[in-house]
Every structure is written in structure tokens, then in C-alpha cells.
Amino acid sequence: MRRLIVLLILLGASALVRLLGEPGSGAQWLMTFGFLILGAYSVGELVSRIGLPKIIGYLAAGFVFGPRVLGVVTSDAAHRLAPVSGLAIALIAFLAGAELRWSEVRSRGPTIAKLLGAEITVTFVLLAGATALFGDALPFIRASGGLAELAAFSLLFASIAVVHSPAVTMALLSETRAEGPVARTTLGVVLVSDVAVVLLFSGALALARVLAPPSGLDATGSTVGAVIWEIAGAAIVGAALGALVALYLRFLKQELFLFALVMAFLGSLLARALHVEVLLTLLTAGFVAENVSPREIGDGFRHAMERAATPVFVVFFALAGAELSPASIAASWTFVIPIVVLRIVGIRVGTWLGGRWASAPVEGRYVWMGLVSQAGVAIGLASAVAQAYPERGVAMRDVFFAVIAVNELLGPILFRVGLTRAGEIGALPQSETTEAVAH
């Protein structure tokens, strides 16, 4: 009841400010930012009462408050808040890297590698093959494009379709306080897969640039050298950034909250300026910073970053919700649903094979349920394709928005079911989780 009152007051206050203010005032998007933090957070808590993950609430709030329904969040405000999404993706990548402790990767490494290797291979081949076979039905494949174009877009599509969501996984684990082999392995797979999919996507994009030369903003850098730099450079720049963070943590340790935000922002700007892969840069930076620093200092910084990230993540997911178009989802359900089903089949078969290969039957049975979610990283990669290929890339991005919307709704529910069946929910004490990722 209290949450509903909060929402009513927020909506009333927002309407009043719009009535009293001049339209187009620059500070209005700041108010929208605050509105989304409180509004989306409240809706997140409302849906968590009925057993749904909070992220679904954030997305639903974004959709309802967004330009297509209530219009409290205007298209202009959503556009002005775009840097928040960029910052959120940078924070997600940095936190994902920071979650990877080298000792844990070593101990659980073989299981993770086998599960991930099998899962990505099966899903990628299945989706690339299906796209190539039934490309005529997809809006981003031109009938007159020829075989090279068909191959290019099939590879790009499959390389984005295999992406998982570290944010959703971490959020669900934090929210459910789950602990056990399925929880840890799923987290490991999702985090390591970030590195793998970023590499895979960079390779696919490079190949696509050769097969079907792009015409958009991101049309440069199609040489092999540029692709190598994009990936190797990201590792170098990320390692340097991570070392800087570690130095700061060792000698200064002050204003961690602001430092965390600034570093994420700086990392993404630096990566773009140096034409290296943003996600890989931040992922490497997080990994180096966490593993080079003493454990308690690194953890302190990670918690500061999680704290700084909380409102950013709430708004990020709400903005993603505001972008959802039910009309385009409804129009494309004939191929969106088969894609979602095929992807789930690929993940299920891949993890089953991986589980057998790694002699980890429990993980092989339940981990797939934690790999269905897709969110920020997938949206980011789809947007990168849209930048490179302004026409067909945008069509592909719209298809992905619909696919991601379904996966975003389905994924957290499935993961919760998987953790429940594995008996791992609530195994961690309250104090070991942070609210920062509880969404």
C-alpha cells in the first residue's frame, strides 16, 4: 500500500511540476532521473511481493512511465539520460570483472570452461544456422544481399544472441541470497562468458565488415590490425586502468564512492577515444583492480562501486523498459518466439553436454536456467551493430529488443526456479549480500 502511495504522490508531483514549469527546461531530466529512481524502485518492490524479480518491476515501470504509456518520462528525457545507460554498462563490466577472483577461476575453471564452451558453441551454431536457413523471414536480411551478406548478418545475430546478463545473474543471487554449486557456477559462466562473447562479437563484427562493408558511424576499423588492437588494446588499457585503481586503493583510499563512478566513466571514455572494446576494457580493469589489491581493500572498493551503481542500475533498466515497443514485439512474435525457444534449446543442450563433459551433473541440470536472461550488454552490442549498419542494423536491434524483452521477463523467473530446485536459495546470511545489486 505504501509503495502505491509513493507512486501516486510521484505521479501527482510530476504532473504539478510540469504544469508550473516551462516546457523543455534542462533540469527536467534531472527530475525524471529522480522520479525513475524512486518510481522504478517502488515498482520493483511491488513485484517482488508477488515473487517476481525486481528487475521486471524496473522494466515494467520504465515501460508504464515511458513515452508509450503515461509519458512521464518523455522521449527527450530518455535521450538525455542515455549517458546513464553508458555508465551502467561500464559499471556492469567493471563489477563483472571485479567479481572474478583469480583463485576461484582456477578452482572452478575447468567446469566453467567446459560448460561455457559447449553452451556457447551449440547456441551460436544453432542460431547462426537457423538465421542463415530462415533469413527470408527476418527483417534485417535482404533477399538481394547475397550469400556474403547473409553470412555476415547471421554471424552478427548469433554472436549477440549468445550474450548473457551478469547484472541479472548477480542481482538474482543477491536478492535470493543463494549459495551453492549451481549459483557459483552460473555466476562464473556468466562472468567468463562476458569476455568470450565480447571477443566473439568483435570477431564477428570484423568479419561482417569484410563481408558486408558498413555505411554507418562505426564504419572505420575494418582491417585485421584494427580488430586486433580493439581486443588486445582493451586488455592493455584495462590492465593499466585496473593498476591505477589498485594504486589509488593502496595509497589514498579516499572518496571511494566518487572514485568508483569517475573510474567507470573515465574507462568508457578512454576506451572509446582509443578505439578499444569498452566492455573488455572495463572487465579487465575490474579484474586487475580486484585481484591486485589486498582482498579487504578490493572488496571495499567493489562495495563502494555497487553502492554508486544502485541508482544507476535502477534507472538503466527502467530506461530499457521505456524503449520497449509492444507494437513491434506483437508484430514480430512470429519470429521472436522461435528465436527465444531456439536459444533456450541451444543453452539447455549446450549446458547438458558441458555438464557431462565436466562430470558435473547438478550444474549440467540447472545452470541453463540462469543463462536465459539478457539485458544491458546485449542491448549495447545490438546498438553497436545499429551504429555500423544504420538500416539493417537498426532492424536487427529492434528484433533484439523484442527478444531481450522476452528473455528479460523469462530469465529471472527461470533462474529463481533453478535455484529453488537446486535448494540453494537463502543459503547466504543477510549481511553478506548487498542491496546494491539486489535488482
Binding site: A13, G21, L38, A273, P311
Partner: protein, 392 residues
């Protein structure tokens, strides 16, 4: 993008350098850290190296507005009713008398110079004088923060300076909000024009609604992270709403802060969460404030010079008069007002508010005057407070 990257890199590098070098000096020689960030901002800004271009600063304006609101909320949270009622009435009488003298002296002087010497139209000169008088009021609390850590907290001068600093911040902030309300234009879409009182009430209402939302949102929650999200959300909302209506985000957030400071449940958790980001915001605001600084037009310089000259004199004279009028000279000494000369960051916050809302005249002049005053007076405020205690 390259501008933003360069800006961020330079700000981070300079911040670290200033932080490492100056804070060591500050601790050793009892100097107040803060003005160095302001100077750094001036150096990086369009007036010097141009690393921060006007467009870049403009793009960061929402962040500045948020910082103003955050500091406003923090200052408001220090108005705790249970503490205020226990404070002897004489402290308030002295604080208000001193404030009245300082306001009349600086405002009167600014008006006379502006209207008679510079030739500003009467209405403009009055508004500028009011703005300068209000932004002249706040005093630095940095000295108190150092002295109150020791045994001197019970010293009458320290207690008087503490009460005065708080009252001055409240009066100045409310006065500025009133000034914004006074010159506010109503949107054409409304059936009738809103009067200044109504705009002032709207400013207060924004803060009150923020407080209500916060309490409904947080409930009995004690988890610091959850409280932080709620705080961040409400302060962003309150600052954004006030600023988008061209009202004072500082005062609206201060009203919210007062509600926060007087909450029965979770006050400590809330105040800790609120104070957690004070320093980063404050330093970032100082750097941006320095970058926003512009040399006033030569014609307006006499007004700035007059205020810079009169304010310290008014502080000392006003303090002495207030002590005499309230028979407290023996307790405080005739020159206790010197302890209020340090201008402090809150004055700068108000001056930024004045400048950024853009509804009051000569924002650049008012802002430049406060920046100059802060650079001149803030560094030594700890030493001044110590000397006032010793030599009274």
C-alpha cells in the same frame, strides 16, 4: 567526447595532486582545505587554460544542481529541533543581530555603489545588493570542524560561532529562495499569475513532498544502502523539480534536510548516508565553481571591491555590536565577529544557485565576488577562530 575525457583526466589528476600536496600543508599549518580546488577550477576554466569550455560546463549543469541540492539537504539536516530548543536564546539574539548588521552594511554599501557610482537602475541595484547581502552572510564552518574535535567545544565563542554559522546558512538560503520567488515569472499556461508568496510556498512544498516521499519510501528500513538509494532519489527529484521551476534547489533540499534531521527513526543511518558523499560533491562543486568564475565587467568592479572590503568590517563591527547589545562582551570579547570572516563553501553554493538559475541580475558579479571573498578569507579561518578564543 575528447573534451569530456580530457576534462575528467585533468580533474582527477589535479584533484589527486591538490589533495596530496595541500592537505598535508592544511594539517600541518591549520589551514582550511577547499580554496585550492576553487583556484584549480579557475585555472582549468575558460578564463585561464580553457580545458573546461563553457559547453562542457553547461553539459555538467545537472550534476552541479544535484550537488547544490545535496549540500542544501546536509545543511538542513543539522537543524535538529531538540538541539535548537536547548540552545540559550541569547545565542540566537546575538546571531540574528550580527546577521542584520552584516546584511545591512554589505547590502547598503553594494546598493549605494551600484546605484550611485556604477549607475545601475534602482531595481537592478536593489536586487544585486540583496543578492550580495544574502551571499555575504554565510560563514565558514571549517574552523569549527577542527576546533570542535578538541576540548574547546564548550568554549562560549565556539558555541556562539556554531549557532551563528547555522543561523546564517538558514537565513541566507531562505532569503535567496524568497528573492527567486520575488522575480519569478508565471508560465502563460496558468489561468492566473502566481504571486511571490505562492512561489515561495511551492519551494517549501517541494522539500516537504520530498520528506514525505522519503519516509513513505524508507519506512523502518535500516539498511544503509537502501537508505542511500532513497536519499539519492529524493534529493535528485527535489533538486531537479526546484531547478526546473527556476526556484532554489538549495532551499528546497534544505527543507527536506530539516525533515530528515528531525526524523525519529534511523536518523543516524540517514545522516551517515547523506554525509558519505558530501566531500566528493563539495570538491567537485568547488572545481566547477572555479571554472564558472569570470572576471566581472570593469564597471561592476567597484561593487565587488566594496563588498569585499565592507564584509569583514561588518562582521567584526556587527559581532561587537551584537555582543554589546546583549551584554555578552565579557563572555565573547568585542572582536569575536572575526571568527565569522571566513566565507565558507555554503556561500559559494548559494552564489552558484544565484548564477545558475539565471533569473536574478548580475549573477556573474555576485558569483565572482563570493569566489574572491572565499579565496581571500577561507584558508585561514581555523587560525582566526583559534586567535579569537585566545585573545578575547
Amino acid at each position: 567526447m575528447r573534451d569530456s575525457l580530457l576534462l575528467l583526466a585533468v580533474v582527477v589528476g589535479s584533484y589527486l595532486a591538490a589533495h596530496v600536496i595541500f592537505e598535508r600543508f592544511a594539517k600541518r599549518f591549520a589551514l582550511v582545505s577547499g580554496a585550492e580546488y576553487l583556484v584549480l577550477g579557475v585555472v582549468l576554466g575558460p578564463q585561464a587554460t580553457g580545458v573546461l569550455t563553457p559547453d562542457t560546463i553547461e553539459s555538467f549543469q545537472p550534476l552541479i544542481t544535484l550537488g547544490l541540492g545535496w549540500i542544501g539537504a546536509l545543511v538542513g539536516a543539522r537543524f535538529v529541533l531538540s538541539v535548537l530548543v536547548r540552545t540559550p536564546a541569547i545565542r540566537y539574539r546575538i546571531a540574528i543581530s550580527e546577521a542584520a548588521v552584516t546584511m545591512v552594511a554589505t547590502g547598503g554599501c553594494a546598493y549605494l555603489v551600484g546605484a550611485r557610482l556604477v549607475g545601475l537602475p534602482d531595481e537592478i541595484a536593489l536586487l544585486v545588493a540583496a543578492g550580495l547581502a544574502l551571499t555575504s552572510l554565510p560563514a565558514s564552518s571549517a574552523g569549527l570542524e577542527v576546533v570542535e574535535q578538541g576540548t574547546a567545544a564548550r568554549d562560549p565563542v565556539v558555541r556562539q560561532v556554531s549557532v551563528s554559522t547555522q543561523m546564517l546558512a538558514g537565513i541566507a538560503s531562505a532569503g535567496l529562495a524568497l528573492l527567486f520567488a520575488l522575480v519569478h515569472d508565471s508560465p502563460t499556461s496558468l489561468p492566473r499569475r502566481l504571486v511571490p508568496t505562492e512561489w515561495f510556498v511551492v519551494t517549501i512544498a517541494i522539500g516537504l513532498v520530498g520528506g514525505l516521499l522519503f519516509h513513505l519510501f524508507v519506512g523502518d528500513e535500516r539498511k544503509a544502502d537502501r537508505v542511500f538509494v532513497s536519499l539519492a532519489g529524493v534529493i535528485v527529484l527535489v533538486s531537479g523539480a526546484a531547478s526546473s521551476l527556476r526556484l532554489s534547489p538549495v532551499f528546497a533540499a534544505m527543507v527536506f534536510g530539516v525533515i530528515l534531521g528531525n526524523s525519529r527513526t534511523n536518523r543516524t543511518v540517514m545522516l551517515t548516508a547523506l554525509a558519505r558523499v558530501e566531500r566528493p560533491f563539495y570538491f567537485a562543486l568547488l572545481i566547477f565553481a572555479g571554472a564558472l568564475w569570470e572576471v566581472p565587467a570593469p564597471a561592476a568592479l567597484p561593487i565587488a571591491a566594496a563588498v569585499l572590503l565592507v564584509r569583514p568590517l561588518a562582521r567584526v563591527g556587527g559581532g561587537g555590536l551584537a555582543a554589546r547589545a546583549n551584554a555578552a562582551v565579557d563572555e565573547l570579547g568585542p572582536g569575536w565577529g572575526r571568527a565569522l570572516i571566513g566565507h565558507g563553501g555554503f556561500a559559494l553554493i548559494l552564489a552558484m544557485d544565484y548564477l545558475l538559475q539565471g533569473t536574478l541580475p548580475e549573477g556573474g558579479l555576485v558569483f565572482a565576488t563570493v569566489v574572491g571573498s572565499m579565496i581571500l578569507t577561507d584558508v585561514g579561518s581555523v587560525r582566526v577562530l583559534q586567535s579569537v578564543r585566545v585573545f578575547r
